[in-house]
């Protein structure tokens, strides 16, 4: 039995915004896989809820003519993973959200909820950071676009005010075209778990010259909010692909991230794992770039 005071159902974005303004104590519920847990734990007990589950316009994924990908905030993890646009253009995102919890949670939890919950361990976050995602937020007055880097304010805190509704996550074409990515979730078991540490690497290579042209490395659970390793990225750009590059990413990441000591894992432990998973994720993203290049070359020959 959940301690919920009132429940309001919105069918359009506008209605959701109005309901939220009308009931300042009400919180948004989408899939409920975070909200219901907080109610059960007592943290949000007695709250009122505005449901956005029935708003059709914020579900599903669209590829725009510009090449930008619009992901509806209320799209479930399962639908993100199985979406043909995601599978073809940014498979790393589909793979990342396929590591959330278990099948039941992935069928109910949404990618927008994952972001708005503000948890640093969110499986979608590192990859969305590495893809330079933009967030489209409706507020009843025309709305705004916020870079995901600016959206996370602290643990469990995001740049949303009462009456704001995240409607879409936008992946700009220029930020994924020509790039390949890989996400590693490091957790204590292989399912039904949250990340102890996670890393998403998105990279662009010149396969002929065997050079790393561009790279974006983001960690989950290495700081209070998802953390882009800008210093490491700058030092790696332009490096030749090889053992030196991989040794360097491991060492630099350990210098740059600042994970905490907790009963879940020590700082020393997270630093060891951090360097190792950054190296393995970079290797795999580069390998994917190489394979793609070979396939493209094979295609031209035939």
């Amino acid at each position: 039995m959940y301690d919920i005071e009132n429940y309001y159902n919105a069918e359009t974005i506008k209605e959701a915004v109005l309901l939220l303004k009308e009931h300042p104590d009400a919180r948004i519920i989408s899939g409920g896989s975070d909200v219901l847990i907080k109610i059960r734990e007592g943290k949000m007990a007695g709250t009122s809820l505005v449901s956005i589950r029935d708003i059709k316009e914020i579900r599903g994924i669209r590829l725009m003519d510009s090449g930008d990908i619009f992901i509806g905030a209320a799209t479930t993890f399962s639908h993100v993973t199985k979406d043909p646009v995601i599978q073809k253009l940014i498979p790393v995102l589909g793979e990342a959200v396929d590591q959330v919890g278990g099948p039941q949670v992935r069928n109910i939890g949404t990618i927008g909820g994952n972001v708005c919950n503000g948890a640093v361990s969110a499986d979608s976050a590192p990859t969305l950071f590495s893809l330079n995602a933009m967030l489209r937020i409706a507020d009843g007055t025309g709305g705004r676009m916020v870079p995901i880097q600016d959206f996370y304010l602290g643990p469990g805190r995001v740049d949303l005010h009462q009456g704001d509704v995240l409607t879409h996550i936008v992946i700009p074409g220029k930020d994924y075209q020509g790039y390949h990515g890989f996400y590693i979730k490091y957790s204590m078991r292989n399912a039904m778990d949250i990340a102890t540490l996670s890393c998403s690497v998105v990279s662009r290579i010149d396969p002929q010259k065997k050079v790393l042209e561009d790279v974006r490395i983001t960690f989950g659970v290495a700081a209070p909010v998802p953390y882009r390793c800008h210093k490491t990225e700058e030092a790696l750009k332009g490096m030749e692909i090889g053992d030196e590059l991989f040794a360097k990413v491991e060492a630099l990441v350990r210098e740059e991230i600042n994970p905490r000591d907790s009963w879940r894992a020590s700082k020393a432990f997270r630093l060891q794992i951090g360097g190792e998973i950054a190296k393995r994720a970079l290797k795999e993203s580069i390998r994917r770039g190489m394979v793609d290049d070979e396939n493209a070359a094979g295609g031209e020959q035939s």
């Binding site: 204590m188 399912a191 102890t196 009963w263 020590s266 060891q272 794992i273």
Partner: protein, 757 residues
């Protein structure tokens, strides 16, 4: 019927959702009770104010520690002892103002619904005086200013010891002396169905419906706790969603019974949350071991010594029985002339430890079998060869507790099967001296396990059979089905002895202490052995009554009457069907007498089961991850009553063993003793994605003590997995970890310290 993989008799009911569990039977307008748990780990309640909670709309009653009976009562699911010295420690009140662990029960709210009860809990105002929290048994036994229980000034609940031969001399004579320390974690049963009960009054008596392994013991303890005659209590046990020992304990049933009395007998439910199940029920004892041994040049054990420090937590529960069980096991199975053992069970401010599948043997097996591998490593001998050199062939008996004995002993056959399965010799060679980032190893461990609790405690079981009009039978036992398949094997036993198809045996699955024969319940891997003995005798008795009655119906002089496949055979020929006989017994105008049989049997027997686990692992050195590539348990549990059920039992146990070895541990905050990870998210129970294919193999020897040649299988599968995996990691990496579980943190720390990464 015995030895056949007949489908579970409850399979269809459970799969279709028709089977009724406690929560499915809740009465209309049942009130809901919630317990107010202390938010300090040690101290006293200075003041408690419940006025706001009482004023909340929908709250029916609030009680605190000031309102409950003063006398203490015991909680473990042991048979009662009529000898004062052997009675369980009574150290608990229904609610307490002396807080002994974080979460101790200080008050309770009864309300119209769950939300109201939860809201009322938040309105109770409590002030505490705090004492320092002590979580380590070795620290706690130095004594504290405020002993956890007043009558144990040094916090030691109990100590026991034994000595065989001359250990000091044996160690002196040894070519090599080895000393090691080991430690096991606090783990939790994690049964799917959280603890739940409801209670109401009927004709001045209290009825408690509970998810329990031990209905007859619940009846006794509710009577003791409330100070009322035991006959005033009726306990009903529906289907149970797992227990693993945590329901071999009387938990909130006495409080539940007390609360219904407080509200005029209206039904009241207490359903624990998962968090409460972790903190406020029972756990497996964490035990620390100091081990010393001496071996001669050929690798024979000349002497061994063990000291155990068992962390009891805040209340006695099963208490010293767990550490003492480990002491007994430490002198069985290995042929060592000089053995010494000592065990302490110590109160601390941890959650209370109690019974859990294996009852102290998973802990002692982890320490012993890790130690055996460490000795073999030290003297450069193959660990399997070391075992074979030191294990006893054939019969052996305990030096102290008669008649505990290996009346059949298949350990060498088990080892051969396990070694062949895992390709021991090849892989021990192939994986020697690895240096890479990914390393593999194979390891093994073995165990012995008693069947039931005789002679340490009473063994008694009851069974009742009655012949129905159609020639089928009704079977009633006091032993409980808790998911292990007990109902199925009891039905098979009755069918076997009565020579009928299992479809003709109708077992009554629900126990009701008003009508069910007396039996102490599901624990100690006892039921197929002890209750099995009662079922067999009961079936033999009914069979005799059927044949005696048949003699009145079959005309002429007949030498030999037999019961076979639903017919009475007179000198080998079908004379009358069982159905016809049954109809006569019910309705004959001249000679009707319905045929029933009832047996209450004390069983003064015991026999030792054995087995082993072999595991192959792959260690990712830089990520601190262990992957179990292959794992097999081989069991000698005598004749298998139902091979499919037996394999199921082994699979479940293997999963538990792996969890304990790899990922499960209940962590406590050092300052307050508050569980840090008492949820199924943070307590890392293995999921199917973490579990490799599990292989179960058996060595079937006919045990002369078992009613059908069978011996213990319920608990043994959970025992050898953790040390086998630990020993495989030793083989892979050269690091013999002292403490489990082998979490990534522990591996990375160990590898870093050893300079491997």
């Amino acid at each position: 019927m015995i030895g056949k993989s007949v489908p579970r008799v409850d399979a269809y009911e459970k799969v279709t959702g028709r089977a009724k569990f406690t929560d499915d039977m809740i009465l209309d307008k049942c009130l809901v009770a919630k317990v107010c748990h202390a938010t300090i780990g040690n101290g006293i309640v200075k003041s408690i104010d419940t006025s706001e909670a009482e004023a909340l709309d929908g709250v029916v009653k609030v009680v605190t520690f000031k309102d409950v009976p003063n006398h203490c009562y015991p909680t473990p699911g042991h048979p009662w002892s009529v000898e004062l010295a052997h009675q369980d420690v009574a150290d608990r009140n229904l609610l307490t103002g002396r807080v002994r662990y974080y979460g101790d029960d200080i008050a309770a709210v009864v309300a119209e619904d769950e939300v109201t009860a939860s809201r009322a809990l938040k309105l109770i105002k409590v002030e505490y005086e705090e004492y320092p929290v002590v979580l380590s048994p070795r620290l706690s036994m130095r004594g504290s200013e405020h002993p956890i229980h007043l009558d144990k000034k040094d916090n030691i609940l109990a100590r026991s010891s034994f000595a065989i031969g001359d250990v000091d001399k044996g160690l002196e004579d040894a070519a090599v002396q080895i000393h090691r320390s080991y430690k096991t974690p606090i783990v939790q049963h994690c049964h799917i169905e959280n603890n739940i009960s409801y209670a109401y009054m009927e004709k001045g008596r209290i009825v408690v419906v509970s998810s329990t392994q031990i209905p007859h013991i619940v009846r006794r303890v509710v009577g003791q706790a409330l100070g009322i005659p035991w006959g005033q209590v009726r306990v009903i046990k529906p289907y149970v969603g797992g227990g693993f020992g945590n329901k071999q304990e009387v938990l909130y049933e006495p409080l539940n019974a007390f609360l219904t009395m407080q509200v005029g007998g209206r039904p009241v439910k207490i359903e624990l949350t998962r968090e409460e199940t972790f903190t406020n029920t029972r756990t497996r004892h964490s035990i620390e071991y100091e081990m010393t041994a001496g071996v001669d040049r050929e690798g024979h054990l000349l002497a061994k010594e063990m000291t155990a420090y068992s962390n009891q937590g805040a209340y006695a529960s099963h208490g010293h029985a767990i550490a003492a069980n480990g002491l007994t096991a430490s002198r069985l199975q290995y042929a060592c002339p000089n053995i010494r053992g000592e065990a302490y069970t110590v109160y601390t401010n941890c959650p209370t430890a109690g019974a859990m599948r294996g009852y102290g043997i998973p802990q002692v097996c982890y320490a012993t079998e890790s130690f055996m591998d460490d000795i073999a490593y030290e003297i450069g001998m193959d660990p399997l060869e070391f075992r074979r050199k030191n294990l006893i062939h054939g019969y052996y008996e305990d030096a102290y507790l008669k008649p505990i004995a290996a009346n059949s002993n298949g350990i060498f056959e088990c080892l051969d099967k396990g070694a062949a399965y895992i390709h021991w010799d090849e892989k021990r060679k192939a994986y020697a001296d690895q240096t890479g980032d990914i390393r593999r190893g194979v390891g093994m461990a073995l165990f012995s396990y008693k069947t039931g609790v005789w002679p340490i405690s009473l063994e008694i079981a009851g069974a009742r059979l009655s012949l129905n009009q159609d020639g089928s039978v009704q079977l009633q036992v006091g032993a409980t089905e808790i998911g292990q398949g007990a109902d199925t094997v009891f039905s098979q036993m009755a069918a076997e002895t009565l020579h009928m198809d299992i479809s003709r045996v109708h077992i009554v699955t629900m126990q009701d202490t008003d009508v069910t024969p007396f039996d102490t319940g599901a624990y100690a891997s006892r039921q197929s052995f002890v209750t099995g003995t009662a079922v067999k005798e009961c079936a033999q008795l009914l069979k005799q009554k059927i044949l005696d009655y048949a003699r009145t119906l079959v005309p002429g002089n007949v030498d030999r009457l037999e019961l076979e496949d639903g017919y009475i055979l007179a000198d080998g020929r079908q004379a009358i069907s069982l159905e016809e006989l049954a109809m006569e017994s019910y309705y004959s105008l001249s000679n009707s007498s319905v045929l029933t049989a009832e047996v209450s049997r004390q069983v003064k027997k015991n026999t030792v089961a054995t087995g082993c686990c072999f595991a192959e692992v792959e260690v990712d050195m830089k990520l601190g991850k262990i992957k179990v590539l292959d794992i097999v348990n081989v069991h000698d549990s005598g004749v298998l009553l139902n091979p499919q059920l037996a394999a199921m039992q082994v699979h479940g146990g293997m999963s538990m063993g792996m969890g304990c070895g790899l990922s499960e541990q209940l962590l406590l905050d050092k300052k307050t003793g508050r569980p840090l990870n008492g949820t199924l998210l943070d307590y890392k129970l293995m999921t199917t994605m973490d579990t490799p294919d599990l292989t179960a193999e058996f060595v079937e020897l006919n045990d002369p003590m078992g009613p059908y040649g069978n011996k213990a299988l319920g608990e043994p599968p959970a025992i050898p997995g953790a040390p086998a995996i630990r020993n495989a990691v030793l083989h892979a990496t050269g690091i013999g970890f002292a403490e489990i579980p082998l979490t990534p943190q522990r591996l990375i720390d160990g590898f870093t310290k050893a300079g491997l990464i």
